[in-house]
Amino acid sequence: MKPMSRRRALQTMGLAGLGVVGLTGCRFVGETQTVTSGQAPIEMWTHDPGYAEFFTQAAADEELVGGSPWDFDVNVTSVSADGVVTRLITQAVARRPLPDMAGLEIDQFARMLRSGIAENLLVDLTSLADQHGENLLRTEAYSSEGRVFAIESDNCISVMWYRQDLFEELGIPEDVETWEEMLEIGAEVAADGGYAIGMVSNSGTAVVQSFGQMLLQRGGSFYDAEGQLSVVSEEAVDALEMMAEGVRSGAFLSMGDPYGGATAAALGDDRLIAIVMPNWYEAYGLQANVPEQEGLWRARTIPRFSGGGHIASTIGGTAFGVVADQPLSDAAVDFLDRTYLSPEGQLARYHAGGYLPTLVDLYQTNEFLSIESEFLGGQRIFEVYGPAAEDLPPYYQSENSPQMREAFAGPLLNAIHGNVAPEDALQAAADSYHRQVDE
């Protein structure tokens, strides 16, 4: 036998390696057998243990799932918020098992808008959402070309949280109408005692979140309904000017991490006496960091901008989508409908994790209106959330939302710190964005 040359041996091994790689991509893919009734062990991925707990309880709650052709059970896999989307894609590409339902954090959903990922991976839930018409809020952020692909868990209504005891002590009226008046008072109490009536976050891209909250309240938006950047506007200039003025006068604290130790310290030493944040901040921000201040905090709708806008705003959110072409896809849609879009499900969700209803008419029902918050000194919190929900601004996003956050972070900070005029900062950010997204 002729001896094999070294080159030949390496070529052979190379081909063998290619063969191994090629074979790993081949596997039998069977046909999907849709389960139309009976046992439905729903596989779910979520980053939040609160949702895991709610869905597990809901699967056994006859009031919620009674009458369904399926007998639900929920197996939850805990995955980080970005990991849910990353793993959905990689598993789909590798044709590995996918969950039946996935919790999609609002910023991560923007990734699924690219190249039709949402359309390819998720069940179109438009018909489910359409049954409720305009009564169902926050569908626009999880939509692509007019089709809804996930149902929001929580309205994430931003209101103003404030220390009633300190407001009273400092003579700050609890019903100040406008931000302009509020800032004036804020500047005075900052100069007199170092108090702050708000906070601007400035770490990483969190400043964009802070700005976005103000922008939406003022009536502006990062994107329009068609997904086009619409942030260079009079509303954006007003919002940015207000933030810059607040930081300049000391009315607003400029903090690194809005959920970190420094913010907790500012709350704990009575320096930060008011803050605009969504409903979940009551549990994750206030109760978690300053439990000893129970009974001292209250909530109210946000003071208006004198130029117009809303009395509420929004940050964050997590919606649940149903993965398409799974044996239990139909069962998962039914499960989602019963647990997320029924009044009983919305009430159960609120009691399980404080998730606000997404059906706006529920805010006026006795079940919700009678809820009192112990942490807020027995305040009937839905008397605040009700009007806020009716005036909640829409939140649109685009596949380029991540690039937008990056492009805007630096210029916004510059404007907030008074280094450039808000108009110039916004224009610079928009220019940078257009260069990044290659439109």
Binding site: A92, R114, D257
Partner: protein
């Protein structure tokens, strides 16, 4: 020679080549190809030629990340590297007690979880409630440095973190090198009238050259791919001011879902690191004999 004996050496060396091919050549080739496509992760990548590279050249954030990575690398070489050497020399001093204890202490930052380090550094350098500003306030009556929210200072804090984390680790390598230098060389130099400085430059540095070369090149590779420090400490902020190339790639791939674009940035990083590595290897004489 029988057929079996002819094959034997190839069988023995084949595991490395198979693994190298599957886990290195294939991914690198796939990455290079992906860099010429537009792909979000699902569906078929669309070939777009060099568009991703053109876009990179025009992307201001990529420019910032290049600058930042260069800044971190330069600081690592100009600050961390000499600091490690000086600490090693100090630890190598004759008669030093508790040498092992100090060595362990210097090594600890490398073993600690970067997440814990970032959390602690975040608290230390917080502008409003940080320890550092409190100390500055107590000593000088001024605590106005926005460590993590001012672009320049945020970069400095990242460098401080790199310094804190890696100096002790590199010190161990230098110390090992120093302990290998024969005492007689120092004694001869002393007899010849060489002072401490002269001994350092004429005995220590030449004898440490192989170790120095290894550390310098390793440090260059590591810092050019820096990710954890800015990612955990500042998330690349304020704005984009502390983003590194590795962070840029991560964001493009896993936050913006632009895998082709991320691959193009990866290829750029590979070329830059490769060229820098070659240059450093040549400058420091890696792989060459001491003669």
């Amino acid at each position: 020679m029988t057929s079996r004996t002819r094959w034997t050496p190839y069988v023995f060396i084949s595991p490395f080549f198979i693994l190298f091919f599957v886990f290195m050549i294939v991914p690198v080739g796939a990455g290079a190809y992906l860099s010429l496509t537009e792909w979000a992760g699902l569906g078929t990548p669309e070939f777009i030629g060099l568009d991703n590279y053109r876009r990179l050249m025009d992307d201001p954030v990529f420019g910032i990340s290049l600058f930042n990575t260069g800044f971190y690398t330069l600081c690592a070489l100009l600050i961390v590297f000499p600091a490690a050497l000086l600490m090693a020399v100090a630890l190598n001093a004759r008669g030093l007690k508790l040498r092992d204890f100090f060595r362990m202490i210097y090594f600890m930052p490398v073993v600690l979880s970067p997440i814990i380090i970032a959390l602690i550094f975040g608290l230390i350098f917080d502008g409003e409630y940080g320890l550092f500003n409190a100390i500055l306030q107590a000593l000088f009556g001024y605590a106005g440095i926005n460590w993590l929210t001012d672009p320049l200072w945020a970069r400095v804090v990242v460098v401080i973190l790199v310094l804190w984390r890696w100096t002790g680790f590199l010190t161990i390598f230098f110390l090992a090198g120093l302990q290998g230098i024969p005492r007689e060389l120092y004694e001869s130099a002393e007899i010849d009238g060489a002072g401490p400085l002269r001994r350092f430059f004429s005995v220590t540095m030449p004898q440490l050259r192989p170790v120095t070369a290894f550390i310098a090149v390793t440090m260059l590779f590591n810092t050019a791919q820096i990710f954890e420090e800015p990612f955990l400490l500042t998330e690349g902020g304020p704005g984009q001011s502390t983003v590194s190339i590795a962070m840029f790639i991560y964001r493009a791939g896993f936050e913006q879902q632009e895998l082709g674009y991320a691959a193009a940035a990866g290829v750029m990083m590979f070329i830059i690191v490769f060229v820098l590595g070659l240059a450093a290897a040549r400058v420091f004489g890696v792989g060459r004999s001491n003669q």
